[in-house]
């Protein structure tokens, strides 16, 4: 082994780089539309999960993230369908509107404590659904809105046609996930981000140290809202339909499960892993023929993962442990188990 290079740090990163490279090659490796579609959808949900994890970093447990997907989706749907705006401005506005709603709601709601915040956000998911249902003139009620795919992009002599195939959507999703991941990672690494973690661990102390609690919570909530709004818009234009029932309480719960199972210690990697693994697991389960076995196995799988993973970790933390324990055969530094 080369002694002058910190290979233990570099090799895992090379492997990750290879995996990312492979991801870009997926549409070349498999042209299976159903598979691409599944990966695209897991990517979209991964963005919503990243939003949840960011908000969780500030100590708040939001069960309403699906509502922001709805707001983003409906905004871009209404703008493109009813006001005939082109796709890209609508997409951008979807994120902005979602962010504005998040900041307004956040300013009012984030000051209440943990469990109360969760219940309010839970109620929020349902209220957004009810508004979607009742506000007929704008949202067309339960019928929903039919959107169109983004228009073709012409680059030189080369045309990217969304209507003809899933592949453009795939790259769009990968880019969006990558951008969101980078932004969130940067936030997590920044001074602001590290104070988030402080807020989560000990709000009282953080406040005494001069960190303005509410300001950071609202910022996190808003940023999460913006990107979740983008995800919602992409979702609506990918499925070419949006109805009020696509984003309710149970969708918010799925987002939360993906986040916790994926691992909340990481703002980008954890959510991505959680979303992809659980989404593909759910999809695979639909092939099984026994009626009722899907929720049984899904619930069982999540329970087993949570029981057997060490406290406070998710699947993403296994990556680090895999390298230290299995590949490098190091002895892990372990905290002493404190008796409760």
């Amino acid at each position: 082994m080369m002694p002058f290079m910190d290979y233990k740090n570099v090799v895992p990163k090379i492997v990750i780089g290879l995996l990312v490279f492979l991801i870009f090659l997926v549409p070349v490796i498999t042209t299976n539309v159903a598979t691409l579609s599944m990966l695209i959808l897991s990517g979209i949900w991964a963005i919503a999960v990243m939003g949840f994890t960011l908000v969780l970093r500030t100590g708040q447990f939001s069960l309403g993230q699906a509502a922001f997907m709805a707001i983003g989706g409906y905004t871009s749907a209404i703008l493109t369908v009813k006001l005939s705006l082109p796709f890209w401005p609508s997409f951008f506005l979807a994120g902005m509107v979602s962010g504005i709603v998040a900041s307004l709601v956040g300013m009012v709601v984030l000051r209440v404590g943990n469990i109360y915040f969760s219940i309010i956000t839970l109620a929020l998911s349902e209220i957004v659904r009810i508004i979607g249902q009742q506000w007929e003139p704008v949202t067309r009620g339960t019928r929903g809105l039919i959107t169109s795919p983004p228009p073709p992009i012409v680059l030189g002599g080369f045309e990217i046609n969304f209507a003809a195939s899933q592949v453009p959507y795939f790259y769009f999703t990968v880019c969006l996930v990558a951008i969101t991941g980078l932004v969130f990672w940067k936030i997590g690494d920044s001074r602001m981000g590290r104070s988030f973690a402080g807020i989560a661990l000990n709000p009282v102390l953080a406040e005494h140290q001069g960190i303005h609690l509410m300001k950071y919570r609202v910022i996190a909530f808003t940023v999460a809202g913006v990107f979740t709004g983008f995800a919602g818009s992409l979702y609506a234009h990918f499925l070419t339909v949006i109805t009020p029932f696509m984003f309710g309480l149970w969708e918010s719960i799925q987002i939360m499960i993906m986040s916790i199972v994926g691992g909340i210690s990481s703002l980008a990697g954890g959510p991505i892993i959680g979303a992809i693994l659980l989404y593909t697991l759910g999809d695979y389960l639909t092939r099984l023929e026994t009626y009722g076995i899907q929720p049984f196995l899904f619930g069982g799988a999540v329970m087993l993962v949570l029981i057997f993973l060490p406290k406070g970790t998710g699947l993403v933390d296994l990556w680090g442990r895999f390298w230290t324990k299995v590949v490098w055969r190091e002895k892990e530094f372990e905290f002493d188990e404190v008796e409760e």
């Binding site: 943990n114 309010i120 949570l306």
Partner: protein
């Protein structure tokens, strides 16, 4: 002024919300966690009673006790095998949510997903002038009264009850006095789940039985707890009563809008007075 039938209907709804909320709060005040799968114990209670009555021919009251006992055992097992192995309130919450899917899936496989009914149990109605009430609903009223009295006696007059109240207020002091918090948690989990199951059993003939019947009672119990105050047993009862009557009266005037009104009410309470009517102020 809504007709008498609406008020009686509200009363019956209150009974169920109250019982479910009481069970959830009991578990919350000792274990510190909300059992999101509480509704699924309700559902299993109904399913067990279905089988004991139709296939086993066991009389209804005994069936109710059997389902309560069986689900108490299941609740204790869940606590020991699942909840205790998961550390951190956050993770325990997620684990009980995944239990929802796990239990509903199991019920779908074993019981099937089609609705079944027990309408032939306690058939007939009691005519009281301008309205009538079915005997099944009268049974719900009697059941709730019995349960509430029993809970009062247990909590205030027995050693176990004293231990529960002590631990709810001051777990460390209680353990200094010789209360095994560990053992008590199991007991309370059993009582809470048993209550949910018996509520499901007594309601089984009133509506229909299917694997998903536990979802709405759990959400309603949650709303009742918010109104009454998280952590307060009195709050659970009062919250259940208020919610039950509100639901029926608003549905009478505004039909499906009652959904919206209740959610808005809950949000309003959480913003203005998060501790509800009787709850202690949490940070």
């Amino acid at each position: 002024m809504p007709p008498a039938g609406i008020w009686i209907d509200g009363l019956i709804q209150s009974c169920i919300y109250m019982t479910m909320a009481f069970g959830m709060v009991l578990v919350f005040s000792i274990l510190g966690i909300l059992n999101w799968a509480h509704g699924q114990f309700y559902m299993f209670g109904a399913i067990i009673v279905y089988y004991t009555v139709t296939a086993g021919g066991i009389p209804f009251p005994i069936s109710i006790l059997i389902s309560g006992l069986l689900m108490a055992v299941l609740g204790i097992s869940v606590k020991k095998l699942v909840i205790d192995r998961v550390k951190g309130d956050l993770y325990v919450g997620v684990v009980t949510i995944s239990l929802i899917f796990f239990f509903e899936g199991a019920a779908s496989i074993l019981f099937g997903m089609q609705d079944r009914g027990l309408s032939m149990l306690l058939p007939g109605v009691m005519n009281l002038g301008s309205f009538s009430i079915s005997y099944q609903k009268v049974a719900v009223l009697i059941f709730t009264l019995v349960v509430m009295v029993a809970m009062y006696i247990v909590l205030n007059r027995t050693k176990v009850g004293r231990a529960i109240r002590a631990t709810a207020q001051q777990p460390d002091a209680a353990s200094l006095y010789g209360v095994s918090v560990e053992r008590l948690s199991l007991t309370v989990m059993g009582i809470g789940c048993g209550l949910a199951a018996m509520a499901g059993s007594i309601m089984a003939p009133v509506y229909s039985i299917n694997p998903f019947m536990g979802r709405i009672p759990m959400i309603m119990a949650l709303l009742a707890i918010v109104i009454g105050g998280i952590g307060s047993l009195t709050g659970a009862i009062v919250g259940g009563i208020i919610l039950g009557f509100l639901n029926s009266v608003i549905a009478y005037y505004l039909s499906y809008f009652s959904e919206v009104v209740l959610f808005l009410l809950v949000i309003f309470i959480l913003l203005v007075r998060p501790q509800g009517l009787f709850g202690a102020s949490l940070k």
